[in-house]
């Protein structure tokens, strides 16, 4: 079972002082940022094949950060990413939050992990939400539906996360 180990690196800009960008000490980076990964999100292979057969140019994969969220029962993708990729919905999903119930569109996506040996994942139903308003503009929230396919270790003492597949 191949294992990928990821040490989290966090850059911090301190505008209140000299504005310099500093690297957060590694012993704090994982705790501060959480289990994040660089990913790209693209249409599924089937969608890309359909676009090519229709003489259209498939969109470029969109790079960004994903956070692994063991509290999320389902994977979520940023809704603006879905728009930019021109994805077609495959359903809707009920979710709940402090403001009450909500219904979100679901889209088929492919997730890749550039620069790692991890294979690409695709899912026919990722829930679209707005993930772009925080300090870290995530494009993907990696939920338990995709975690069901891998072994994930939050190795705090070693200050890294480990993914086996």
């Amino acid at each position: 079972m191949p294992i990928f180990e990821s040490h989290i690196q966090v850059r911090v800009q301190r505008p209140e002082s000299d504005g310099k960008v500093l690297m957060m000490p590694p012993q704090h980076a994982l705790q501060h940022a959480g289990p994040i990964l660089q990913v790209t999100v693209s249409p599924t292979k089937q969608h890309i094949d359909a676009l090519i057969s229709q003489g259209q140019t498939p969109p470029e994969a969109i790079p960004g950060f994903a956070i692994i969220d063991t509290g999320a029962s389902m994977t979520a993708v940023d809704e603006d990413v879905c728009r930019r990729l021109g994805l077609q919905p495959t359903g809707s999903q009920k979710t709940a939050h402090a403001g009450g119930p909500d219904i979100r569109a679901c889209y088929p996506i492919q997730v890749s992990f550039p620069g790692t040996p991890l294979p690409s994942f695709s899912t026919p139903r990722a829930m679209s939400v707005n993930l772009q308003f925080g300090k870290t503009p995530y494009i993907l929230l990696f939920g338990r539906d995709l975690l069901a396919r891998i072994k994930f270790v939050y190795n705090g003492p070693a200050r890294r996360i480990e993914l086996a597949f």
Partner: protein, 85 residues
């Protein structure tokens, strides 16, 4: 938020949820327009067939359950995802 591209498919599913529950509980229905194309053991298999038959268009993949589960995303919806430590 509704999904206008799938309004017809969702209406069809709600009208036929009971019948589908009797013949294929827990499976995934592939619905296009007002037609159930088939039921599948997984959403992935339903998507594969939908993408083959209706390339580049919207279609509904719906798990056949008595009621739709509510997905949990506590860190996102409580704002913890954006907490500044």
């Amino acid at each position: 938020m509704s999904v206008p591209e799938l309004a017809e498919e969702m209406k069809y599913f709600e009208q036929h949820r009971g019948e589908l529950l009797q013949c294929a509980p827990g499976k995934f229905a592939l619905i296009k327009g007002a037609e159930c194309i088939g039921t599948f053991d997984s959403a992935e298999n339903a998507y594969e067939e939908g993408a083959r038959r209706f390339p580049g268009t919207a279609f509904l993949i719906q798990e056949i359950l008595p009621e739709d589960p509510i997905q949990e995303m506590p860190t996102f919806y409580t704002g913890l995802l954006y907490a500044d430590i």
